[in-house]
Symmetry: D2
Subunit: 146 residues, 4 copies
């Protein structure tokens, strides 16, 4: 299913819904009476902790090619777990903040499409520090949300 180079989108992958994860997380917490610990800022700091663990995987590696062709299975499994930990806390944080995360993400993508129009942003690769600034460089330099 994969090109072996990553970045192919969701084709061939498990179409898990954000709402399913939110429900599983809510049930997980309720079963253990952990709702008392799941305040917004507690969950946010837990998320930051997991982002730290995700970063540790990449910290001494230098640049890593897409697709991770030379990683062994154990390392890829570990990566999947840390990505999941970030996702699960993010889903839970959105939930306890009463944010419909899937809906918000779709709206953010639409907003980004307006902010970075294809005809402006597409084009030959520009270096970030080009002295000559043209529209596509400016657009790309200001990209917060790709």
């Amino acid at each position: 299913m994969s090109s072996g180079n990553g970045g192919v989108g969701g084709a061939g992958r498990n179409p898990v819904a954000l709402t399913e994860l939110a429900t599983l997380m809510a049930d997980f917490a309720a079963d253990r009476e952990w709702d008392q610990f799941h305040s917004p800022r507690n969950l946010l700091l837990a998320l930051v902790g997991e982002v730290g663990e995700l970063s540790e995987i990449f910290q001494w590696k230098g640049e890593v090619p897409r697709g991770l062709a030379d990683w062994n299975e154990a390392d890829k499994e570990h990566l999947g777990e840390e990505l999941s930990d970030v996702l699960l806390y993010l889903v839970r944080l959105a939930d306890v903040c009463d944010v419909d995360l899937g809906d918000a993400a779709l709206r953010k993508l639409q907003k980004n499409a307006v902010k970075y129009p294809v005809h402006v942003c597409k084009g030959p690769s520009k270096k970030y520090n080009d002295d000559e600034e043209d529209v596509s460089t400016v657009a790309r330099n200001n990209v917060d949300d790709v």
Copy 2:
């Protein structure tokens, strides 16, 4: 649909699939010829940047109650956008690393259920620094992944 207190799970929310977001992000990048910028470590640092913006929303507020009852609409909208930015980069990072994020998240939840069994973890609330340590306190103190 919401209890007004958050943490209710995905009921009544948009059941957006992670695969849908992955495909939208892949198309977004391809349309703008931005794949060249979407290396794993670039995306990871972009994710860290968005986690920073998410943290800024909460930084001066002190403790924030679940449900965010006293937040105005503009602030909740802003929060939804920052949560989305983190999510979108996370989905994209997983994609370029050839990780099936939805699948990985479901497996991680199962692993957590084994690690934190309900009969061990459930029980009356314990403070974290109780001198007397019992099983439920130990379990809760070591919780990395709730």
Copy 3:
């Protein structure tokens, strides 16, 4: 020396210079031939990893009073170590980027003093979401760098 409530500044503490730490870190890396791993982005990700470990200390605690009066010695020692890890990577990152960190910090403090003048920012506490916005509220709402 301490008020027991924290936030008293550097009185009575070890006046370690940033330059001393930078030199110790440079020697540490050179002795182990680790300079090869100390690229800017490697160090930045290592810093993010340590910020994650720092966050884990605070993640399930809810609000924590200044001075940490009720923390035991082991927990305070652990906190000191994680704060140090962040500091040491930060100092090292600045060094490999040829940034004079102490000098930059003093200049940033001066810049902040101009940005947030005492006569504008001082005053009775305002809630962040007050409908009525006055100067001091505006100033405080926009505080990135205190």
Copy 4:
């Protein structure tokens, strides 16, 4: 003073003491009556926000060589400011937690020297994923705190 390649330590740089920064930050907050906002978790989240801004500087650049030879002055100035923001919040966080940060950092360096002995860790560069694991590889693979 600089080799142009970074990582030379503190020689020729401003020997600013951590205690001086702690005192300046304490005075800055007191002058503006901002101590009320400087709780440990507020400052921690502010720190995370600044780490995010620091990451944004590096996020689309791919690997960056030490010394930043090809960066312009404005970009280096910006980098110095973001590094400073992280430092200042870190110093302030340690202060309100009653941690002697300079002292803790020196002790952590000593601990690291014991954990990663020169005779074990020094040697020809090893790839992280070498099938053959020897002592130096193991040591390097487990490096949290370099």
